[in-house]
Assembly symmetry: C2
Homo-oligomer: 437 residues x 2
């Protein structure tokens, strides 16, 4: 079989739960898939239209960002260091109501996709409004995306009448199904406290009908859970379970305050969880019970959350922060080890967000790959590429990126769009936001 590309002389991190590695291996790509993996330095390599010498750099599966609100890059650093209510009510909601149009959502998404691709993230699971514009913008830059259309029981950007929110989201999903090989549509209910039981159940029914992912924030803050229990007599996650919403095609975002029973329900139903460590820290939401989720067998991915609360869509930073934090939080330096953290940032996130076969270097899996700079001082010397990918690597080390076999980043430059144009568009929206404050 002739390859389109062979990446040779790479330090391979193959991914998967065992996180197997091999020095000086090679990967062959045909079309959008990995078609051949050579785990030894021995030649010959398959015939290929192009051969890329990785020069000993670490080649790993593309990172998967399991939770984002892509257009919110437009609000990056607009307001920080505030209590959650103040931040949302006085800064983020008003900015969203006024400035999230399809045009601006596309501009914010292009900016986000540029940042993600340049930092080694090849797939993102999104939830927001004007999501058709989001999906088109992300795919346009060559990014793999789960595009979740937002659902809320009050007026939202592009959905002025909440009575039509599930219908609008379902129509979006039906329209986008199989439209673009890089895009999977989804429905994203904001939360059990902003969506009624009827809304949640109807949205999940629409997802089941289309065979797509259902997403929702839940148990992000202690106050949210306490208020929910006071009102409904059960936790938000138990509520989702009792509505029949939890299954293998549901992604629960945050779950910071998931208790033991909640974790049992997630594990039992096969629902996934997106852990957003940096956002949860910055908003003072807390620390998700990640070791307990993993022990229970819950499917977990890592997300950056939106750039308004992070403020950077950098999954290397997220992965390192997650691996480090849980050691101190538990007092045990062996928990969430490098293999586990990197699995969550790759295949774990892909599984939790229903992306299918991406996040592993294996024949038949998507050719979503990241090559780290072999001449980065931060990655020198190298005793263990998995340790480096988690504890030492950063966006600064990302040299080349491939999504579905297409090289989207070459020598730290985006190949799929004009970055200066993307920056100019985002700055123009920001100018309007600034003027309106």
């Amino acid at each position: 079989m002739a390859m389109d590309l062979v990446i040779d002389n790479a330090l391979l991190v193959l991914g998967g739960p065992d996180m197997e590695t091999c020095g000086s291996g090679a990967v062959g790509i045909a079309g959008d898939e990995i078609a051949w993996v050579g785990k030894t330095p021995e030649k010959p390599r398959p015939e290929a239209a192009r051969t890329l010498d990785a020069a000993g750099g670490i080649l790993l599966p593309g990172l998967v960002n399991a939770h984002c609100h892509l257009p919110m890059t437009l609000f990056r650093g607009l307001a920080d260091d505030l209590a959650l209510d103040d931040w949302l009510t006085n800064h983020i909601f008003p900015a969203e109501a006024r400035f999230i149009t399809p045009h601006n959502a596309a501009a914010g998404t292009r900016l986000a996709a540029a940042e993600l691709l340049l930092s080694g993230v090849t797939s993102v699971c999104d939830g927001y409004f004007c999501e058709e514009a989001v999906a088109e913008a992300a795919c346009g830059l060559g990014m793999r995306v789960v595009a979740g259309h937002g659902v809320l029981d009050f007026p939202a950007p592009g959905v002025p009448d909440p009575a039509k929110s599930v219908r609008t989201a379902a129509d979006f999903a039906e329209k986008l199904l199989d439209r673009h090989p890089l895009c999977k549509p989804s429905i994203f209910c904001h939360s059990p406290y902003t969506c009624s039981p009827a809304t949640l159940a109807a949205a999940k029914r629409a997802c089941r009908k289309l065979g797509i992912l259902f997403q929702t924030h839940a148990a992000e803050t202690k106050g949210e859970v306490e208020r929910f229990v006071a009102r409904h007599g059960k936790t938000p996650i138990r509520h989702l379970h009792d509505l029949g919403v939890l299954d293998e095609n549901t992604l629960v975002v945050h779950a910071v305050w998931a208790g033991k029973e909640d974790i049992g329900l997630l594990a039992e139903t096969g629902a996934g969880v997106a852990v957003c460590t940096n956002s949860n820290l910055k908003l003072a939401s807390g620390i998700a019970p990640l070791p307990a989720l993993l022990s229970a067998g819950v499917s977990v991915g890592l997300g950056t959350d939106g750039a308004a609360s992070n403020n950077r869509l950098d999954l290397f930073s997220e992965t390192a922060a997650t691996a480090r934090l849980h050691k101190a939080a538990s007092g045990d330096p062996t928990v969430v080890d490098a293999k586990t953290a990197l699995y969550l940032a790759t295949e774990g996130g892909a599984r939790a967000s229903g992306l299918g076969r991406t996040g592993r270097i294996e024949v038949g899996w998507a050719a979503d790959l990241v090559l780290l700079d072999p001449d980065s001082p931060s990655l020198t010397p190298c005793y263990d590429p998995v340790s480096h990918a988690v504890y030492a690597a950063s966006a600064a080390d990302v040299l080349h990126v491939f999504v579905a076999g297409r090289q989207v980043v070459e020598n730290r430059r985006l190949t799929t769009a004009d970055l200066s144009q993307i920056l100019a568009e985002a700055r123009e929206v920001a100018r309007q936001i600034r003027a309106a404050r």
Copy 2:
């Protein structure tokens, strides 16, 4: 006054406790100092041999890494995810005993200095062995360094006889005093549990005589404090205080388990603290009481610790992690705000480590400056450059770096040494380390 360089059209973050900013300002450099600051876009600018157009990029004071063990880059990723005792006893100590020679310490330091400078760190406060080689290697790359010679009551690299450890360190410090404008020597007692009261007192006497910084690790882990109290009837920090070691020229490293009384002693004596958030998380040591230290008025800086426990010498990552973590740890999203965090990463670290006038953009202060890439997607759009410097910036965004007026990084490339040579040297040492395991 004619300038050597004017950096124009910059988004200035001036530093200092108020963290004043101004859009489209300019900074003039003469020799090794900042000689002029223009806080408005109005021309004219002073005459200058060279003008650099910052193109709207954020110009901020160079970051100060308040705690590092520079040569330990050689052990980056050698062992992770282990209990502290196992990590130290079975991996780090044997590697140090065998491989820390002046030649290798210099190789590791050059690698560290390259990484630091390329990520916007202009000053570092170090503590290790073979420190003369460390100081020369760091200054050779144009890095500002506090070089702390290690003291231990057992044999150490370059100091086989512990009876001579204070004498060796004092001789080193005397020899390096005023030798290089970028270097301040210091004495670094490893800890109150590895140095006797007599050793600590003698080392501090030598520091006082020479007017230099005394450094020591203390209260890093809960177990250390509990064992110390059981043996000595007082905490390590109280012990240092009772020995007369705490004053404005002492830097206590970690202080994770500093109690209320300890914090009072630090504040009362003016001793500084280096907080090493990521290292403390990764080793499961805990979370330093930073808000309490700051409320008490303790002088605090941020350190990366050595690359064996971090595993990256990236102060942007450290600053963001510190600002985020304490919000979740305290449940208050307003603590350690962006201004505070950036102050700690700049002037705060310089004060705590006795570096003098670096860490602020002000006439008469050292021309230690970092320009961030105006065309970084992660820093776009920009509503608040202080927020961006803390929550959004990373090593990937560092474009130009100046230390004492000299441009040490230009367009992401080190100007002061051949990076490929530095990487080759470090890899050769690593090859020997790997072969010996």
